[in-house]
Symmetry: C4
Subunit: 196 residues, 4 copies
């Protein structure tokens, strides 16, 4: 089974998830600087979620690039990841509309954690299909970033009981870690492309 | 006529159908556990419909993989299937907003039944185009799962007159049957890929 | 310049236009047969617009299949067509919410007419680029269906001043004409595929 | 790393951004000419934003056509461009709902300016990757249109303090400049296609 249609479908879901969030942005109550100031937190949560989905798309892109074969289980692992990413617009909205109340901030963290775990499951399944000596397996020997992210999500989710800003700081930190695309895979891709 | 653009368009429609449902999720009234508890049934109907569309996407993926040629009638059989899947977000919402009232639960079942019948029509047309000796025809000799599903949809729809939970149980059972992707086709694909 | 990305973008816009209409379907006021009966006209306008966009997708698919080369003017002719199709959900909604009032029914007809004219312009441009001896040019020698459609749209739009049902009848008639895919092109495609 | 999936994802985001704006169009209050007249400015802002996103899609199409290789930085430059384009529906809506108030008109101009700057950054990165002697580099020797656009956006944004019509005139002027697709690239493409 080839990966191109999985990529196309994933691209579709991610493109929609990243774009429809804008539909939910309510325009400021007043067309002045005061209205704009009140709108800023909403915009920033939107930017954060945009960046998150952008990160997943980038990593998914790299991951699939090193994948030649998939199977039915991998399709469902991918759908599972898409599920958690598809509800990011919803948890973002809840967090935002509640003005960073404790529970929605916690739920947002759990959503991101579930997405990270789902990504790890998908990655593990793909490595298993490609084999231990595949380029993919060699590229992901040590998934330090993935582990850091999951740790930070737990910290961020738990931090909601202290202050939402602890959570936001943790979530922003994860985005910062990942915004540099996965050089390990990129190197492997480059090496493979040169070698091919 | 090739299948790639049919796949791309179908991927687009299914990606949107699976994703826009989240736009319709209203955030809980209060940002606390009580609000979250009230929200749970909504989330579960969302999950159920996500899984259904995921199942159709997976099976459509397998079906098209074994299809080399299509014609105008197949295009319309495909559009017919996409129509029924595209209104799943609507019937889901109605069922959910009515708190599982009799008629919306019945309508949801009819929607799923219509999608299943449409899929069978598309499949029959594609088999006819590929020929009785094609890999597709051999892979779908006996469509037991398809028949079970349709039976369960009828049970589920009728069950709405007894209790919505009978219906929900039937609908969940169909999802459970299908969540294992179509091994018959998968085997045929694998065999074909090996043989090619 | 190749056509594949034009197809992908057009597929995206059409997939969205055909799918988002469902977002605008308001659930019936009451979860009973009375509510369902009141909802029927809304469902039927939805079906009609779904069929229209399906027709355009099918014909666009056939048209692009016979097209090897495009240019900047063709890109804009295509965007022009997509514009008119992208506002079909809006004119559909207006017609429906006004309960088939005169002006919205007229505007719906003008929308469909503009889409038909845009399609004709795109087709003419593509024929010009491919050349008078191309398979595309030979397949579209005489565009009887296109001319009938435009005539019926004018009748339907004007008919809004008599009764909305005249308009609806004319719009349904056009859909009926086209629901049979363009056999001329299909024959040419088949001939080309055989000859190739 | 190849460009096809970047194109697919960008097509998805742009197709959604260009299409969902219609979801936000509120139907006229009354189904008569008065209602239609009141609706006209809304329609015109919609058309303007549709044309803008169409322009970006067209130019992106040309740009990617001359691009053979991308890297992680280019992926993020592309996501940055998509971000600014994805919020065009939002700034359009704000400008429209405020009846062209000063601040929203200014913000719309800043949005377009940010998109133009992002496009320039993406283009610069792609030229750097392809090399100074690449077809892309030679095609974009002198980016007069890009510079004119940015100047006009600044004029338009600043003009909001005088009159929204100054802004609108500037924004329409930029669209007019670009609606003619980038002949420089088109010529290079044609030359390359002929030479290939």
């Amino acid at each position: 089974m080839e990966t191109n249609r999985v990529e196309a479908f994933s691209d579709g879901v991610l493109a929609i998830a990243i774009t429809i969030m804008v539909l939910e942005l309510k325009v400021p109550d007043t067309p002045d600087l005061h209205g704009l100031a009140e709108f800023l937190p909403t915009l920033l949560t939107y930017v954060l979620s945009f960046v998150y989905i952008g990160i997943y798309w980038t990593n998914h892109h790299h991951l699939m690039h090193l994948t030649q074969r998939i199977d039915g289980a991998a399709l469902w692992a991918n759908l599972n990841l898409l599920f958690w990413l598809s509800i990011v617009p919803f948890t973002t909205r809840w967090m935002d509309e509640s003005s960073l109340a404790k529970l929605p901030v916690l739920v947002y963290g759990i959503n991101l954690l579930a997405a990270a775990v789902s990504y790890t499951i998908l990655q593990a399944r793909l490595i298993r299909i490609q084999g231990a000596e595949s380029r993919l397996a060699r590229a992901i020997r040590n998934d330090a970033k993935g582990k850091w992210s999951m740790g930070l999500y737990v910290v961020g989710s738990a931090g909601a009981f202290l202050s939402p800003w602890v959570s936001v700081a943790a979530y922003v930190a994860v985005a910062a870690i990942w915004i540099v695309p996965d050089r390990r895979i990129e190197r492997a891709v480059a090496a493979g492309d040169d070698g091919a």
